[in-house]
Symmetry: C2
Subunit: 237 residues, 2 copies
Amino acid sequence: MMHQYQRLTELLRKKIVKGSLRPGDILPSENELCANHHLARSTVRQALDELVKEGYVTKQKGKGTIVLEPKRQSLGLFSIRGFSAIVGETASETRNIFLQEPHHTTWGDDFFFTLTEDEKAQGCICVKRLRMLNNFPAMLEYTYIPDVGLPLFRSTSFVRDSLFETLKEKFGIEIRKAEQELVAAGAVKETAKVFRIGVGTPLLHVYRKYHTNKAGLFIYSSFFCHTDKYSIGNTLQ
Amino acid sequence: MMHQYQRLTELLRKKIVKGSLRPGDILPSENELCANHHLARSTVRQALDELVKEGYVTKQKGKGTIVLEPKRQSLGLFSIRGFSAIVGETASETRNIFLQEPHHTTWGDDFFFTLTEDEKAQGCICVKRLRMLNNFPAMLEYTYIPDVGLPLFRSTSFVRDSLFETLKEKFGIEIRKAEQELVAAGAVKETAKVFRIGVGTPLLHVYRKYHTNKAGLFIYSSFFCHTDKYSIGNTLQ
DNA sequence: CAGTGGTCTAGACCACTGG
DNA sequence: CAGTGGTCTAGACCACTGG
């Protein structure tokens, strides 16, 4: 069952995405939304705060709630865009190549985040993917999910070719936030081969810990980005 | 003048930072806080939401509001830690070296974010700093502030050696959120010299656009990180 | 000046955790 | 079961933007 503020968030989000509300437009005022949807003002504000957090709108005291320019193409909690001019075009075609199907394994001895005893005992499911942007190998990603008894799923059954969408729709697991560590390092032999670059080419190496809606369940990811053509972007706070 | 929820946030934040509330402790319940501080529950919730956003506490339905492990040393909107073991010790001693004092200049022709006409006309104040962590040159940062008529300030008058604290306390400018772009690239000659590394050593290059509490005022930053010893960290969402 | 979003009050019912 | 945080109502006063 959905809450009333979530229904209003969804309704307004759809209007923005579909274009009946355009960048620069001002949303109906909070009082109008109250009247039109028979809601208390705090409920309307809860809905609007969600849209602010998602980056669809911004609020200005005395003026109103204003629709922002659309966000760029996003992958997980970040977005990718052409690097030639930092504010460049987004990659139009993205494709995932599964180098290893989801499979059960143990965490390595020196896993990059500290694990709880529970997590260590459970072992994990690992996926190894290469992300292609316009046929350019841009990102090599290892994702680790603690094995909490999920049925093993194959890439062919992914929802919209997305691991996170799959976790959400099939298992009710939603990503809430993430911590990440950033490092620049030269490509080692094996990685260089995947990217078709020379050993030592600078790569961006990102370590992520995703927090989910399930208490105590975290998803981990380690990925390399070849940023000669595409940079990766974040919004902080 | 401060709002009541801000006063409560500050009071609780201080208790956590000073240690009278320790990690794992449960805060007084929302109803208790209401009674003790003579506030409505929505005001108390506003205060607690702020602490959640700042990463000091987490809430659990049915249980309460729980104090989290202290965050790591932070610089701006990110934190830095020893890289040897990703979850390593924080740098104990940080120091800023001003390579160029705040000075007025023009934006370059190919500035890394798109500027408005107003911003272009105003020109900017630029600061060039080298951040040392335990005497290791870890970060070279260029910060650009649109010249909206701020009196030129010198590094010696910085509040707590921090640009952001200075902007906040002297000019009422607060950072709300930021967008960033990440790239890995080899050091060029001039940069290599500053870091005392070889040309071509992989560096993390970050471009940031900070949003402030003043509508239309953005602060820009471009920085290089030498991540052999220290990685930089973020929290997303 | 009327209208906006920001803060705040004093209530209510609910699903959830733990004893 | 009593207590918790999550949602929701129906009001109020305020500082701010723009005509």
